[in-house]
């Protein structure tokens, strides 16, 4: 049985021998073309205008809601109906909910790290299937109970249960729901809208909802 030092030496020899067989030693490594790298970095870090992005750049994402490719194909993540060519007739706010009615919605499907966002716009929010103003009344693990006070769109319900918010949801603009917090929530296909479509109640977001759904 070798002592620790002997083992270290053997390790060191083995490591050097393996490293010597590296198929890509530094002198044989291709270099990154700086101009192309900068172009990629610029594209990554530059916010994309929704209108031009949606129309002019077919290879770019058209999402204003986070949407991975696979999920998009499966319709797993809600996108504004204007993007899908659908769209329901707009509906004016409010209405009295039927007693104890509940709607259950989920967080966006997929891994937030593989999603990206475009800036939210009135046009895209207008494509939401539901939108409401609500306060969180309870949290149980990752399930949130919301009590809507105003419905901008969709069939009014007494209670909305939101479940399955994925880890890293903040990366795609899903608000951090806390008990007592007031939120504006828009979405579709049973999923909460990401990327700024839903958020903590604010005058700015309310103005967007008003423009999208207001009478």
């Amino acid at each position: 049985m070798s002592d620790g030092r002997g083992e270290d030496i053997v390790d060191d020899i083995l490591r050097r021998r393996l490293a010597a067989g590296d198929p890509l030693p530094p002198q044989r490594t291709p270099a990154l073309d700086r101009t192309s790298l900068e172009a990629v970095m610029h594209e990554i870090t530059t916010p994309q205008a929704p209108e031009s992005g949606a129309v002019d750049a077919p290879r770019r994402s058209r999402w204003w809601l986070a949407m991975p490719a696979a999920a998009a194909a499966a319709g797993a993540v809600w996108v504004g109906s204007s993007l899908l060519g659908g769209g329901s007739a707009s509906q004016t706010p409010l209405a009295v909910p039927s007693p104890k009615s509940t709607m259950t919605i989920s967080g966006p499907a997929g891994d937030p790290t593989s999603m990206t966002c475009l800036p939210v716009s009135v046009e895209l929010i207008r494509g939401a299937q539901f939108a409401f103003d609500a306060t969180v009344t309870a949290v149980d693990g990752t399930t949130y109970t919301l009590a809507p006070t105003t419905w901008f769109k969709g069939e009014p319900k007494d209670v909305v249960v939101l479940q399955g918010i994925p880890d890293g949801a903040a990366l795609i603009g899903i608000p951090n729901f806390v008990v007592g917090g007031r939120y504006l929530v828009a979405g579709g296909d049973g999923q909460v809208g990401a990327c700024g479509a839903s958020g903590e109640y604010s005058a700015d977001l309310l103005a967007l909802y008003d423009k999208a759904f207001g009478s």
Binding site: L14, R17, G21, P25, S36, P68
Partner: protein
């Protein structure tokens, strides 16, 4: 967006963008090497773009003390998606271009005994040994790439080294599925 707007955006780079650019300057070449050791050049360039995109979105999560292993872990995940055919829907318009290395660069000498012994190990053992010897990572950083604890990485590395040493000592051994057609 016209040229003036692009120029204005460049001039007005936010601290976050600057931080991202500095990170990319530190990790892009090692990540490229990591990828080129595991896939072809075109895929490596595409997966590097994907990796940078994730780094940008997760910039606040990148641990300062282990940013390179963290970037390797992202690249590994992006490469796995790429191999499964799950290219990102938001594939970038811009493409990273790789410049050929000098034509006269000598290829590494092939250590046939070692490469054959390595090939006979299970893939997970091969990968941990590559991370150790090619990426020159220590167990703590290997743990970050493989998303396991440092202890687990240490134990796995130790076992992989033992297996490799044994395979070197006994080239004929194996329950291994040696490559067919070898003499």
């Amino acid at each position: 967006m016209d040229v003036k707007e692009v120029d204005a955006l460049r001039a007005a780079r936010t601290p976050t963008v600057v931080r991202f650019e500095e990170l990319v300057a530190r990790v892009s070449q090692p990540v490229l090497r990591f990828l080129l050791r595991r896939t072809d050049a075109e895929s490596a360039a595409d997966v590097l773009s994907d990796t940078l995109l994730v780094l940008w979105r997760r910039l606040d999560d990148v641990p300062a003390e282990a940013e390179l292993p963290w970037a390797y872990a992202v690249a590994k995940s992006c490469l796995a998606n790429h191999r499964r055919g799950q290219r990102r829907h938001h594939a970038l318009v811009a493409k990273i271009i790789l410049l050929d290395p000098p034509a006269d660069a000598d290829p590494p000498e092939e250590d046939l005994d070692l490469s054959e012994a390595l090939q006979r190990l299970p893939p997970d053992d091969q990968e941990i040994l590559r991370l150790w010897a090619w990426e020159q990572l220590e167990p703590r950083d290997i743990a970050a790439v493989l998303d396991v604890s440092a202890n687990v990485a240490s134990v796995r590395l130790h076992r992989a080294k033992k297996k490799l040493a044994a395979a070197l000592k006994d080239p004929g051994s194996s329950r291994t599925q040696t490559r067919q057609g070898k003499e």
